[in-house]
Symmetry: C2
Subunit: 107 residues, 2 copies
DNA sequence: GCAATATTTTCTATAAAATAGAATAACTTG
DNA sequence: CAAGTTATTCTATTTTATAGAAAATATTGC
């Protein structure tokens, strides 16, 4: 199986983190906040589409809307293969980083 | 600062792991072993070149040779910015994965 | 010395992923 | 239904990843 790319890892984890509240805008906000940098619209939606193609996530539309405008929100869920891919990524990371010095206090 | 790509992370960590023994071939062997998959020659040397350009690693030639053929081996070292980039990648990962369920026994 | 052989890196081409943001769609309110 | 707002789709460009042939350079044996 191919390794998860960085952006795939981040997007999958943000969907996991956001639980039932994961759609384009909240995902983008979360990623911007946790990484501390700017993410364009495309840099969120393009990987989302690819993750759907790969079967790592699925989605549904929630029609309840209490806010003003906007299209239907597309809510994402991790699929079972998506969870497996994350698990596998984690195991690789554990091996790779094993013993790496931890500079607890930084800056 | 831009995030490290997956392959950059892996290559940097393998140089760190191999200490004074990091050159193209040993890096490739290490990465193949730890990931359990095939890596072409280009998939090692191309990111190495880019990491040099970015200043994350530097290199020197060791002329001592006791093996049969081959060009001069190019040995790589992590630079200080390279170490910083790793540290930053790790901090992001810690945030992202915080609380992720750990399936200790798998398969 | 030099042909044969082995090892390592350089080079170049192609595919995949990341990034950017304009355009489009769709919902609410008045 | 027009105006205003929010969300996604679409498309183009840049950057990374991947592959492996070609070139370079070393040792061995005659």
């Amino acid at each position: 199986m191919k390794l998860l790319s960085r952006q795939e890892e981040i997007v999958l984890l943000s969907i996991w983190r956001l639980g039932g509240e994961a759609y384009g805008v909240t995902i983008r906000e979360y990623i911007s906040k946790i990484t501390g940098k700017y993410w364009s619209i495309g840099s969120i939606y393009v990987p989302l589409d690819r993750l759907i193609e790969k079967g790592y996530i699925d989605y549904y539309f929630k029609d309840i809307t209490n806010r003003k405008g906007g299209r239907r929100k597309r809510y994402y869920n991790l699929s079972s293969p998506g969870m497996d891919a994350l698990q596998e990524a984690r195991e690789l990371q554990n091996s790779l980083w094993q013993g790496f010095p931890d500079f607890a206090i930084k800056k």
